[in-house]
């Protein structure tokens, strides 16, 4: 495998394998495709658009990546009506007002000696203009991420909840890692942050945004991967219980339900079972704890009816 640019010291981003190991140390079991996406994002300097149903670990991936790279995680939660004054920057209006008042007081002495209006204006121009300057800039998540000296991990969560207008506004920030502030000019990132955008597909994202991102779809994991994830997340769990509970969840996923349980639900369920000091699954226990796994009443009823059957099939296998 050819690594990217030669580096002075080894970095966790050197190869896909080191990424997998590093993420595992941060408590995130990544498939090869996930690790490759992170590798490409770092080397091509492009944001990653992560899609997948709720609870497959989209946000977790960003958190683990930040831990892996030892960079600060800056998070921007999207919602309808989010605009640039909340995402990018805001002026500190109060301080600006105070500043003008101070300025007024100082103006008299400064301009006192001027013989006529023209030279007074000249002197005025000589005074540094602080009103619209970075001192009065209140940085919001996007700007904060761009200004981090050593780089950062920027998580733009649930981008699909924001408006289309905000999406268009993100384009500049994501493609060139810079933002334009009309009063100041362009602020460019010294070190481009690693950007994760997550989406639950509430609405279709625009093509322009998709084009600028690497696309990563995290599917529900297979049995082996999920067992490893549970092992990493719930350290105290016994092997046999872990295997059978993951097998049960996998079987539930083949059913036609309103909301399939995802990884976070499996992990929660495993935690509950550990807390209850369970050694093996039985029908009553599953029935009592099913509400951890399933979030809709009709799903619970549908699965409840089939618990004994599912458990006995597992016992045979």
């Amino acid at each position: 495998m050819k690594a990217g640019a030669p580096r002075a010291q080894t970095s966790p981003l050197d190869s896909v394998n080191t990424i997998i190991e590093g993420l595992a140390k941060a408590g995130y079991i990544a498939s090869r495709r996930i690790a490759t996406a992170l590798y490409m994002a770092a080397h091509l300097e492009k944001p990653i658009l992560v899609e997948g149903t709720a609870g497959v670990g989209k946000t977790e991936l960003a958190i683990a990546s930040a831990a892996l790279l030892e960079l600060p995680l800056i998070r921007l939660q999207c919602y309808e009506g989010l605009d640039e004054s909340k995402a990018l920057y805001e002026w500190k209006y109060g301080k600006q007002l105070l500043y003008t008042q101070i300025l007024k007081d100082h103006m008299g002495p400064t301009l006192a000696g001027a013989p006529d209006l023209e030279s007074a204006m000249e002197r005025l121009h000589g005074v540094g203009d602080l009103f619209f300057s970075e001192t009065f800039l209140e940085a919001r998540p996007l700007l904060t991420a761009l200004r981090q000296e050593g780089g950062a991990v920027l998580l733009i969560d649930e981008i699909d909840k924001s408006d289309e207008a905000f999406e268009a506004f993100l384009l500049e920030a994501l493609s060139a890692y810079q933002v334009s502030i009309p009063e100041i000019g362009v602020i460019k990132a010294k070190t481009p942050p690693i950007v994760f955008l997550t989406s639950n597909n509430v609405r279709d994202l625009g093509d322009a945004l998709k084009r600028r991102c690497l696309h990563l779809h995290i599917p529900l994991p297979d049995q082996r991967l999920e067992e490893r994830i549970v092992a990493a997340r719930v350290p105290g769990i016994e092997d046999r219980l872990r295997r059978s509970l993951v097998a049960f969840v996998q079987a539930v996923r083949t059913m036609d339900l309103r909301k399939l349980p995802s990884i976070s639900e499996t992990v929660d369920w495993a935690r509950v079972l550990v807390l209850l000091n369970v050694e093996s699954l039985d029908a009553d226990l599953v029935r009592e704890t099913l509400n951890v796994l399933l979030k809709f009443e009709q799903d619970v009823t549908a699965v409840e009816a089939r618990i004994p059957e599912m458990l006995s099939r597992q016992a045979q296998a």
Partner: protein, 442 residues
Amino acid sequence: MQRALEDFLRALRASEVPVSPAEAIDAHRAIAEVGFADRTLLKDSLVVTLAKSAEEAERFDACFDTFFARDEFPGGSAPAAGPDVPTPAGDLARMLLEEDAVGLAGAMEAAAARAGVSEIQTGAQRSLLTRRMLDGMGLRELESLINTLRAAGGRDEEVAAALTERRGALFAQARAFVDRQAELYAAQTGRQLRERLLARRKLTAVEPEDFRAMEALVRKMAKRLAKRYARRRHRAMKGRLDVRKTVRKSLGYGGVPFDIVWKRRTVEKPKIAVLCDVSRSVAAAAQFLLLFLYSLNEVVERLDAFAFSDRLVSVNDLLDDEKVDDAIELILARIGFRPTDYGQALADFCALQEAALDHRTTVIILGDGRSNYANPRLDLMRRIEDRSRAVIWLNPEPLTYWGQGDSKMDAYRRFCHVAKSCNTLEQLERIIEDVLRTYTPA
């Protein structure tokens, strides 16, 4: 390798993974990072750069696997002909005799490039291209060589026999190669052609074997409609300054317009009521009308759906709760394939829905207007027209049949804002789109 990537991108486009020039550049950059050596790594890094949705990623995986599949040439065993046999002229014969797998594969790729195999458009071109490719590899020379060797007799005849046998294997290889190329590049053009034809086929004349394709098409169209339609609704959100309200609010701040209020155009969601005829006379088209109704129900928020033949029932629950096949089957079982009675259907509709009809409701009727000489209840039709925003009638029969026999279409059309003949999917889509644009509040 540049060439290989270009071909691959073309294959991707053919399998409905759109790749823009900018993405092609990204792909080149990605490859510059990872190289060609590790195939899994190559695949993973290309999929994150090129595929833009989960479905595209799936299609990408399939395309990648087909594209990089290569048949192994049989080879490795000792040459069959003895050393005293003069190696026959021609590279092809030599490679065949020596079972030079790498050389043969290379020659085949080169000949394929010369013959333009990757430009393949339809499956019908396969034989021609295979032939052309083999000719490019020197098949003619090989054949004349076999003939001379056979005529010479003795050891030469044995060599000729060996060559003939391997020529057969070569044919099979070449054929498989072209098949794979056809699958990569021509499958999609073929499908697009078929879809275009299907969209124009009369709903009543769709062959059973085309049902699946038709269903997929209907769903695609409904989705496309929904997308355009959602975008329009968003645009109405922009506001203008509401001076009155702003001034009113400014009183609280001593006349300073601190809170600025924008005018909001209230976006009225359109209401659509669809009446779908599932009687005997339109039996052939009913399936697709229902399918369209089902897909529309998924995308339009306030849709009241009804199906009727000799009476009318609401099918909202079925459309909402059942899967598409079950829903259609249940509807047809409950009410389908009976003689139509439009008068009764309209009466039922008024009883169920009249109170809910208002100036925002668009009523769409899908049916042939053939009422089996029963009372057409034109009075009810007038009431519906009066109460609703628009009445639209889509009739699968051509215009010339309207009013003939038991068709009451001529009478009904007077109460419709639009009455159109619509017997292909393409027309159906166009008309529904017009309806959404024109007759629903923006």
